[in-house]
Amino acid sequence: MSDMSQNASNLREGMMASMSKQQIGRVLAKQGILIAFAVFMIAFAIASPKFLSVDNVFSVVRSSAIIGVMALGVTFVVISGNLDLSVGSMMSFSTIVVLDLHDKLGPALAIPAMFAMTLCLGAFIGFLVGYLRLNSLIVTLGMLSAIHGLTLTYSGGQNMDIADKEGTWFSVFGQGTALGIPVPILIFLILAALLGMVLAKTPFGRKVYAVGGNGTAATFSGIPRARTVFYCYLISATCVATAGLIQASRSLGSQNTVGQGLELEVLAAVILGGASLLGGSGTVFKTVIGVLILGFIQNGLLLMGLQFYVQFVVTWIIIILAVWLDIAAKRGKLWSPIA
């Protein structure tokens, strides 16, 4: 009898220990992305003194702004349970169109015209995925190619340049500063704050989570599933147009392929932020962190003297690691034979 109670108390102690281990695991799973961010920053800062200099930090955030702005929109699409692989080529389209119209209509008309055209593309995708319920991977992968073709048709295959690069106020979006902060960073942060509130605080944001978490249950709760997905693609297209505007304004001239491949970096940032590809989870704030991690890692690699193109491989490795850690956190093990 006394043996048994001894046994029981041992068990209870063991349980306490494992519970605190569980709690640590829970904190890791929940805050893992912030912890990883801190670890990366410290490691790179030790490896390269230049890494955390104000100049470098600004330059990283500025160059991340374009990816970041697009990632904000894709966050909505991913939480709604869909994908958007068309953002890279859609951004090329926006950039080319706004540069072309700049000289034809003037910047004041070129910008709204470009937004309208980009939104039409987003609406088309939203219609196919939301209302016709077509698979978003197929639709947006197809649109990646189709929009690239559209861009080339529009430009006739030529690079697009603004004639008078000195005399236009158009350069403010990509090159200007306000309050000492580069405008692209400001746009990114303001848009992030705005969309973050939309997602976290408004009825629409709640519907996005519901539709992505369980579309059938959302329908049974009277939520317009198709319209919600449609709006997510409109938001994504708006963000892409904004990114195109920053890109065009920064370079004032562009190739047709300026956004090529960016869809993967955008997706990497969103997944790094912890949005599940199954839908229903993720936040704008986490996506911003994901964008910064990606930016600082790529920058850190450059500072360490690695070739630029190494980052393509590294981006892929980061995606794989992020997805792996995501499911590992969910099931509490790095590997498990069952889901």
Binding site: Q22, S221, I223, G280, I338
Partner: protein
């Protein structure tokens, strides 16, 4: 008894999940040649315990013994290697493969160069199938088998290894009576071979028919083990829920109000035809019939999920056309759907957000959701329905079936509906929550709600309904008042048998 060594012994098993202690010191043992029932309400910890036993979860404390040896079930394969086999409630077979391939999946007999030895495979499989006395052979495609026969394939799989303990998890859930007899014969055979059997079921008559001892769990805690011969249904139920159950009939004694819903000649293609009925405020109308009789489809039509091909729907005397769930909701119709996890809840969302989902557009402070108002609604219905959750932040998916169902019911009650439709209100939930939900439905009627209850369980329909509409194959066969209904006439009506009293 004392000189027989148990084949399997669990000692003080503990398993915790975030916010929940799923198993709290569970101990019992299974003797060779014994059928040991494991009972408890949903959420009592039976499934968790089986997952611990099957190596899917690792316990946080306690030990598993097989014979004299303590064992650690590191994973499903190890559990199988140690002779612990599972017959799952949800079948895990590959529909496109043959019976033989399913039975020997992962262990197909081989010839040289890794080629499958089909002749040997078929021979081995047929030998096992012969023991089970089934009507199909080794080469049958599993997808072509009935659910009952698929279950036989699972059992055959358990027989291929030298099983020491076999666990049956709700094996009769989808079996006909004839198929049950075959299953019980198989269990008797296993018993004769000295295999220890754990039998999980909610069905009392089976438990008393085939088991030797019964162990009961409640809220993750072990309540004790009793000899089946010394127990009654009542004593077991009391162990499971800690109190007694009331299943008397329950007609209204209050005045009925106006007609809230009238359906005239409603048809929807082949799903149901020419359906007529009305529901008054203050009454519960039960819809009873077999699966596929068209009851759920009528509910879905009323909720705007299906377009009727013919007929009229009148709400408060006004003819309406309902085009979408949002449309139905705005007209005061609420539907608690039959599939709680698939249709009722966003499992990854917290309890509060689930509950207020249909009215999220109406709960606004400026452009934002008024979260304070949401919490107030959640608190109100948590108290009213006695929902047990660590708080509104808990994910709906982490709650037990009964509490999940209460969230769904709270979600629709908080809309203050003119017509509440409840489809299979207590499917797959524990006895305690079940009686609470029954009581609630009666209370709602007394408060003047118009309630439609669709159920496949006769005691439930009899218990909660003022009137019962019996359906068969898409048609209303007969409407019963609660005073005149008998179980016999109800069964006749839903089986399509003629009844001279039919209207």
């Amino acid at each position: 008894m004392t000189d027989v060594k148990p084949v399997l012994r669990l000692e003080d098993i503990v398993k915790t999940f975030p916010g929940v202690r799923a198993l709290d010191g569970v101990s019992f043992s299974v003797l060779p040649g014994e059928v040991h029932a494991l009972m408890g309400e949903n959420g009592a910890g039976k499934s968790t315990l089986m997952k611990v036993l099957g190596g899917i979860y690792q316990p946080d404390g306690g030990a598993i013994f097989m014979g004299d040896q303590q064992v650690v079930m590191a994973g499903p394969l190890e559990a199988k290697a140690k002779g612990v086999m599972f017959i799952h409630q949800e079948l895990s077979l590959a529909a496109e493969l043959s019976v033989a391939e399913n039975i020997y999946l992962g262990e197909l007999p081989r010839k040289s160069f890794g080629r499958v030895d089909w002749a040997k495979l078929t021979e081995q499989t047929d030998a096992i199938l012969k023991k089970l006395n089934v009507s199909f052979d080794a080469k049958t495609r599993v997808g072509d088998l009935s659910i009952a026969n698929q279950q036989m394939v699972e059992i055959a799989r358990a027989l291929t290894v030298d099983a020491k303990a076999v666990i049956f998890d709700e094996p009769t859930a989808s079996l006909t009576d004839a198929e049950k007899v075959v299953l019980f014969d198989v269990i008797a055979d296993l018993k004769r071979d000295g295999v220890g059997i754990i039998y999980i079921s909610h069905r009392m008559e089976e438990i008393f028919k085939i088991t030797d001892r019964i162990s009961v769990l409640r809220d993750g805690q072990y309540q004790g083990t009793v000899n089946t011969a010394d127990s009654t249904e009542e004593s077991i139920t009391q162990m499971m829920i800690g109190r007694k159950l009331d299943l008397s009939r329950n007609a209204s004694h209050h005045e009925l109000g106006d007609v809230a819903l009238e359906v005239r000649g409603l048809s929807c293609g082949k799903l149901y035809q020419d359906v007529n009925f009305e529901v008054r405020r203050g009454e519960v109308v039960g819809f009873y019939g077999l699966v596929g009789a068209g009851r759920t489809e009528i509910a879905e039509t009323l909720f705007g999920l299906r377009e009727p091909s013919e007929g009229q729907i009148l709400l408060d005397g006004q003819e309406v056309r309902i085009h979408s769930p949002a449309d139905a909701i705005s007209r005061g119709i609420s539907l608690v759907p039959e599939d709680r996890k698939g249709q009722g809840l966003v499992l990854g969302m917290n309890c509060r957000d689930n509950m207020t989902l249909p009215q999220v557009d109406d709960l606004k402070a400026g452009p934002f959701v008024a979260e304070g108002a949401e919490v107030a609604i959640f608190d109100q219905y948590r108290d009213r329905l006695d929902i047990r959750t660590p708080g509104w932040r808990a994910q709906a998916g982490n709650l037990s079936g009964g509490n999940q169902q209460k969230i769904v019911i709270g979600k629709w009650l908080s809309m203050h509906p003119n017509l509440l439709i409840v489809d299979e209100p207590t499917r797959g939930i524990d006895v305690g929550s079940k009686s609470e939900i029954h009581k609630l439905l009666r209370e709602l009627a007394a408060q003047g709600y118009a309630v439609m209850v669709i159920s496949s369980e006769m005691p439930e329909v009899l218990h909660v309904s003022d009137r019962i509409i019996a359906m068969y194959s898409g048609r209303v066969m007969r409407t019963f008042n609660s005073e005149e209904v008998t179980e016999d006439s109800l069964i006749k009506a839903i089986s399509g048998l003629s009844d001279d009293k039919a209207a």
